[in-house]
Subunit: 258 residues, 2 copies
DNA sequence: AAATACTATTTCGTATAGTATTTTCAATAT
DNA sequence: ATATTGAAAATACTATACGAAATAGTATTT
């Protein structure tokens, strides 16, 4: 009786991979765009990227094709891929207008349809927000951004309408807003002599002050949904998005003015 | 006096390709999904597809990656791609609910912002609708579907909000609705003995009757926009989408009941 | 200085080989 | 009969090398 070849060849028999390389690469590249490792507007060379990530071109190409559909990477035929530019002021306003069309409705629906699972998830997400507030430095803004993304996606999901949830996800608004924030920050750092001072003010304004405010607004929304008060949920979401628009507008303007 | 060099040097040289192969393949595959050459829910074999289209796997993979982002193809890691299933009744309703959130607003904005270029484009599109009504048979439904897709996309574009326009395009609603229609038709053909009779009724209802009705509704919307009557445009668009929902609902129900 | 020609780089697509995983299907056991 | 098992086949995934075609940059000529 021969020894099982398959067993001897793969003695440990590692658990089957649940994801494929191209998916990981997709996430990696998205991450690189997220934190300016790939700067807005910069060229993306497939070869170089493949070498850098230590994979072949095949998964990189698939990832870039998906990122193009997502609107995070732009393709110019025969010239290559480049990271999309930062949001123009118009795109910024358009994006928030779009969110105003779907998110207040989503919050309203969520309040109508939420079940115990949804309520638990909402409470957990708000708990994670409180944790994020304890972090300090740049990481705090990133943590808050990620909470924000999850919070809004969660509500879209609880609304029960997949089309709405998908359309929200595909805006990648948290990614675009974070890029604006980072670009603004980098700009300030390289700026005049008062850069450090301005930066500190900026940090305080955006991270601590604004962060706490945003989370307070999230709290109102979450409570309204948990109370199944649909009108209050809609109103609170509307107010939150407009408030968020006002918070980010200076950064969007500064970048476009530059 | 020398002959214009740029003219003499270039004419022989064939015009540079404006698109790359993977884009053409993307369109081809989308087309194959559109008219059930790739049936809903069926597996998509990359190898076979590459052979069939007479290209290598690379452009096919890029196209499929994009189609997955579009939600037209689903990927299961290590198992491969498959065409998405037909819309469930819930997805169907969700989709129309989503459209109700953005399209009436888009029509309203379009009426406010439309310029002469937009008015001309709207008139041209309505003219093409009249032409489509003259076609007979199955092609008519396809022609009407394509007009419908262009009409709604045009209004979203005139609204000036790129986020809104993109989100509409990405629903690919005309594609999904056409697939529902075709599936229903195929189902009827393979059905009972009264199939032919029912089919004729169906044709008349959906193609001639419904087609003319849809175009009448488009006319109302187009006129409101051209008149820059924003409230009327919003109302007309809202009514049209609800009317369209009612027209397609029987097909969506029939398929889900099957 | 401007047009042209040439070179280098890069993108795009092909071809192929190898590995990992799923699927198929028949033999075996329950 | 049903379920389990295990090899074989099919398929998905990744790597790699190469070549054609377009673009970008440089040098040369007029």
């Amino acid at each position: 009786m021969p020894i099982k070849k398959s067993a001897s060849a793969r003695p440990v028999k590692r658990t089957p991979r649940r994801s494929v390389l191209s998916d990981e690469i997709y996430e990696m590249i998205k991450r690189m765009i997220f934190d300016h490792e790939i700067a807005p507007g910069s060229r993306v060379n497939i070869d170089a990227l493949a070498v850098q990530l230590d994979v072949s071109q095949t998964p990189v190409r698939e990832a870039l094709a998906r990122l193009e559909s997502d609107g995070l990477i732009a393709k110019e035929p025969l010239k290559g891929y480049k990271a999309t530019d930062l949001l123009s002021l118009k795109e910024f306003n358009d994006l928030f207008q779009f969110r105003l069309l779907i998110e207040p409705w989503a919050a309203e629906q969520a309040a109508k349809l939420v079940d115990n699972t949804g309520k638990t998830a909402l409470k957990a997400e708000m708990q994670s927000a409180k944790t994020a507030l304890k972090i300090s430095g740049d990481d705090q803004f990133q943590a808050l951004t990620e909470h924000d993304a999850r919070f809004h996606a969660l509500i879209a999901s609880i609304s029960g309408n997949q089309s709405v949830a998908d359309s929200y996800e595909r805006t990648h608004c948290h990614l675009h807003l974070f890029r604006l924030f980072m670009a603004n920050k980098l700009h300030l750092i390289e700026g005049e002599s008062r850069a450090k001072f301005v930066q500190d003010l900026f940090d305080e304004y955006y991270q601590v002050g604004s962060g706490q405010l945003a989370i307070k607004e999230h709290d109102v929304i979450a409570k309204a949904i948990i109370d199944q008060n649909s009108k209050a949920a809609r109103t609170a979401m509307h107010a939150h998005i407009e408030s968020s628009l006002r918070r980010f507008a200076p950064a969007a303007q500064a970048i476009n003015k530059k």
